[in-house]
């Protein structure tokens, strides 16, 4: 039988101290914040997916027709009474513009990164790095506006037509992803240990041989990550592209004819359709495609990272 005093004593000893209470409180608060972010991610994916699937579940559009159909006219039904929701023009537009801008940007970005790191670190740190860092932060609408007032008229003057199209979009995206890819490539080159270069030079290799056969090889996973990251950014870019691509939901038959991307159709369309209608659901399906592609880019970056580590 415990006396009253021992009971009190036990209580006193087993009770959380003030510091321990604070500790539990702080830990809970910070965990809540973290879980909140996770909840946001889950909610975004969940909401967009449930909306995007509605086209196929409640409007009974065939998934294959949606992905491969070439005419996008959600307001009109075709001869078989099915709505015309072929997303291929936008999907092709998005991929074309992403791949082209990455192809153009990669040599420039990696070349500049090599220059910054290997050839003239001094000038690199003084001029190139601050300039690229600053340009990473330029808002995309500003790129779009410059595309509209400089790139589009130039394309019009050279190739005729309206000047809107994939080519103008590629030019804008090229300049837009250039700083990002450059600074990420520079980071990748920076992480190559110094003794790799010293060993190569000591073997009698020239500077270019060292760069080409040693530094670039060692940094390949990092450089690939930089390029894929730039592609992901180009794929998801909405307003800058929307301003210069011409917004015609047609299969792009040339690089200078007006066309559209997933993002450009989304930005122009969502506000003009009624929630829950087929036209609106079809747009959400495009958003879902966009979301899935960004997950794929994420996966690729992860795979590259894992492979790079194993070597």
């Amino acid at each position: 039988m415990k006396t009253k005093t021992t009971q009190q004593l036990e209580q006193q000893l087993t009770r959380h101290s003030k510091a321990a209470k604070l500790e539990i409180w702080g830990r809970t608060i910070s965990l809540t914040a973290l879980l909140l972010i996770v909840a946001v991610v889950v909610a975004i994916i969940g909401f967009v997916a449930s909306k995007g699937i509605a086209t196929f579940t409640s409007n009974h559009v065939n998934l294959w027709d949606f992905l491969t159909g070439k005419s996008w006219n959600p307001n009109i039904t075709d001869a078989n009474g099915k709505p015309e929701v072929g997303a291929l023009p936008m999907i092709v537009g998005s991929f074309l513009i992403t791949i082209l801008s990455a192809i153009v940007a990669t040599p420039f970005a990696i070349g500049t990164a090599v220059f910054m790191n290997e050839i003239s670190p001094n000038r690199g740190a003084k001029i190139l790095q601050p300039v690229t860092e600053l340009l990473v932060g330029i808002p995309s609408v500003v790129y779009g506006f410059i595309g509209l007032s400089v790139v589009v008229p130039t394309t019009r003057a050279i190739f005729g037509g309206s000047g809107f199209g994939i080519l103008s979009g590629t030019c804008v995206l090229f300049v837009m992803i250039l700083p990002t890819v450059t600074s990420m490539s520079a980071d990748a080159l920076k992480s190559v240990p110094r003794y790799y270069r010293e060993a190569s030079l000591a073997l009698g290799a020239t500077q270019w041989q060292t760069i080409y056969k040693v530094v670039l090889r060692a940094a390949t996973p990092g450089l690939m990550t930089a390029v894929v990251f730039g592609m992901a950014r180009a794929f998801g870019e909405a307003l800058a592209v929307q301003m210069v691509i011409g917004n015609a939901a047609l299969m792009p038959n040339s690089l200078v004819s007006p066309s559209s991307t997933l993002t450009s159709v989304l930005t122009t369309g969502i506000g003009n359709t009624v929630m829950g209608s087929l036209q609106n659901n079809a747009l959400w399906s495009l958003a879902l495609v966009l979301l899935l592609m960004s997950l794929v880019f994420n996966l690729i970056i992860r795979l590259i990272g894992r492979k790079g580590r194993l070597q």
Binding site: S30, L34, I37, V41, I44, I146, T206, W208, L290
Partner: protein, 294 residues
Amino acid sequence: MNSKKQNKIAIGALYGIAGLVVLILLALLGYILASGLPQLSWHFLTAPAKAFLKGGGVGVQLFNSFYLLILAMAISFPIALGAAIYLYEYARDNWVTTTIRTAIEILSSLPSVVVGLFGFLFFVVKLRLGFSILSGAFALTFFNLPLLTRSIEDSLRTIDLEQREGGLALGLSRWETITRVILPATVPSILTGVILSAGRVFGEAAALIYTAGQSAPALNFADWNPFNISSPLNPMRPAETLAVHIWKINSEGIMPDAKAISSGSSAVLIIAILLFNFAARYVGKRLYKRLTSA
């Protein structure tokens, strides 16, 4: 061709590429500033926009941009701070943590238009907030959270393990160590990260066109009661920001001086981001000196 010649040619080509890139980037900056600076005037920065006539300003849009920025930061900073603290100081290295990190990475790689569409669906439609500053601020929060969390976590990483051990050895709890020892030491770098992310939020438009809306009703700058509809502080009013304004007047094309207004607005955006960049460097250095008396 011997390897020496090859070396010379390759190095020369790299000089050419780097020079070209610098040229492109400087031309870009130069164009924005050269075409935009002449448009700037006190009238331009303060007057409300005119839809069909020449001579409007961007006063309301500029205010909206800053107001949204402050609200978004006020919401996202505590969440990002908490999340970063848990991730770096508490979380064990297991599959749950890896999954959470992946989720944050996914959020940061989502196209901002998708984040904006989600904001539209959830806040504007489901929660019936309408096109409002509040919806916009939440959308910007989602856009900003992963970037800010990562930058704060990086700041925490720069603090030596000895600092934590020292705190614990003094008998402080982990939370006390974090709030009394670690966080004060990271203030300069956290602040730098916050200012830099503010620059990104300031220029964001795609996440806002369907959350904060594309209209800027006239504001009465004498009325600071947040419950009045024309008050600048009212968080329930639609609020077009500067970045959205540039997009909108260019895609609608009904404003006779759209080009001049866009040039001016672009210059304002660029200057704001330049200032954010310089401020980040300056404040970080200055605070570091003061706090560490180094």
